[in-house]
Symmetry: C2
Subunit: 340 residues, 2 copies
């Protein structure tokens, strides 16, 4: 392959992204920068956070510049190198972009991978990557669950949510998952071991709140929030005293030009609850301590992380949109090339 | 006086309370219950929390029953007693109601007062009461300010807000207050020592956010939130990383039948901020440790707590409404009787 296909951001989406916001362009394969290397990206992570990076607002990362490729965590194989530590054929993970080849320098999130220990290199984007570890650190280090507590997870069939529920169960919590549709709710219990599942589709805030209340009559001790909107407002009406809320995502809001807003913050006040804004990036130095624990749970059949692998840079747009249509279950990954 | 006038809740307000929601009725003066006493209520605290108690929703206290008098923290003088520890003429504080006489039993929030140490017994409803100590514990124990941090206070000219700003200054913070109107903003700086004041009146969220940003270009480390609504949303756009938000009140929302909602919670996420729902009640066992410190600050001229004293049970409705019209500055108190 002699061209570098790149999936570019051409304009900032207004609400839900449309195909015209992007363009698949061709460029020359870059040369290794001094002391760096070029990675053949094989798998790219597709995450709700990328939608935020497309907006021109303040965030924990600069917005993607117009004309630049969509920023993405990728795993791939070194294609050409000016650095003996990163030899041709080595597997590497880094914050690259939706493109065939990325010029990289060591540092930041860049790290070499031992792919011999996993069935697919994509595992470093799911279980052993930010998503799996978001569940691990967000639940265990931020919410600090105690056995017997009630854990409510929104977006529970998603990549992060399904991990949170399973680790919550390992921690001895009673776990309730909220997801959209009967099939996802079936999987919450059958595949991810939730004690109860709630289908939010077609329900008002009052109906949702009542359903949560029936399943958690003593209130919710930990709310792991991935969704926002009506689902979060219904959950807030069921907080136990001193509840902890891990604010991990607000996917219901990301594509709304006019945000809906959270109306039940008063419940946080009267229940003396705490909301923790949570980003996984700052736990990166501790990933190495968590990965073997996650691997052990997976080997023992206590933790299952599904991947939804879509194929081809040319499918980047429809693949990305699976995050918002409710189509995907498990960690969404775009396979760009084989690598091995 | 042989009758007991009582300010009753006759129906639950829909949005802003109207006079027809209440009735001033007359009843017989109660007899002391066994082991208890009857208090002649002299001063009653008027607080935004009372608006919440008028609603029929879940809260940290049961709603006021229809036909019951409006629950209120009161200080008064023992009128008749069946308990030697509470002798006729003793000053007592308790969670009573807007009425001339309340039958009380020891326990709960009931405590005897030494009024010789204060210029007016109403001080136990302001500086030495829940309001002053809300500022003390909310700022010092929940937000834990460090010298040099930026403290933003909404409702800054109110009873709690003005205390928070002054204690923040004592703690070495740079203090910015938000209030409604030029006169209140003048007082923030002249009377309460804020470093800067912002008048929110007539401003959009974007304009308010820009004004906060100019005054706190490095972001707000501590947001002491008394208001909610647009003011809170504008503040959330200016959080520093790891900001702490003390959620103490949401007065902008209390009278809205349809809550507006907070749209910028995403900023809590990306800044890894924390929102602490805060009630003063659970710090009640520690009031005795804070009161002498507050007294010392007041004596040294470092802390000023204004009282807005309204007069007469017959004025309970217009007095209470001063909380929402923006008319009151300082702690709103209803004087029911002289007592001394």
């Amino acid at each position: 392959m002699t061209v570098n296909r790149r999936f570019l951001l051409m304009r900032r989406p207004h609400g839900m992204p449309v195909p015209e916001d992007f363009r698949l362009a061709e460029a020359a394969v870059p040369a290794p920068p001094p002391g760096g290397f070029v990675l053949r990206n094989c798998y790219a992570s597709l995450d709700p956070a990328q939608r935020g990076w497309m907006d021109d607002g303040p965030s924990y990362m600069p917005p993607i510049a117009l004309g630049d490729p969509i920023r993405a965590t990728c795993v791939g194989v070194v294609h050409a190198s000016d650095n003996p530590d990163f030899a041709q054929g080595d597997w590497v993970m880094g914050l690259n972009a939706l493109e065939d080849y990325s010029a990289m320098v060591p540092g930041g999130f860049t790290m070499k991978l031992d792919v011999s220990q996993v069935e697919s290199p994509s595992r470093f984007l799911s279980a052993m990557g930010a998503v799996g570890l978001t569940g691990y650190f967000g639940l265990l280090e931020v919410a600090k669950p105690r056995a017997g507590e009630v854990l409510l997870v929104s977006g529970a069939a998603g990549a992060v949510g399904s991990v949170v529920g399973q680790i919550g169960r390992i921690a001895g919590c009673r776990t309730i998952g909220i997801a959209g549709g009967a099939e996802k709710c079936r999987r919450l219990i059958a595949d991810y071991g939730f004690d109860a599942a709630i289908d939010y589709k077609g329900k008002t805030q009052a109906a949702l709140a009542a359903e949560i209340g029936r399943l958690a009559p003593g209130g919710v001790d930990i709310l792991f929030e991935n969704v926002g909107g009506v689902v979060m407002d219904a959950s807030l009406l069921n907080l136990a005293r001193k509840a902890r809320i891990v604010l991990c995502g607000l996917i219901a809001e990301y594509n709304l030009p006019e945000k809906v807003g959270i109306r039940n913050l008063w419940s946080v006040l009267v229940q003396e609850a705490t909301i923790f804004g949570f980003l996984i990036m700052n736990f990166a130095p501790r990933f190495a301590e968590a990965a073997p624990i996650m691997a052990e749970w997976m080997a023992a059949g206590r933790l299952r992380i599904d991947e939804d692998v879509q194929h081809g840079l040319e499918n980047a747009y429809p693949a990305f949109m699976r995050l918002f249509s409710g189509a995907n279950t498990g960690k969404l990954v775009l396979k760009i090339a084989d690598g091995r």
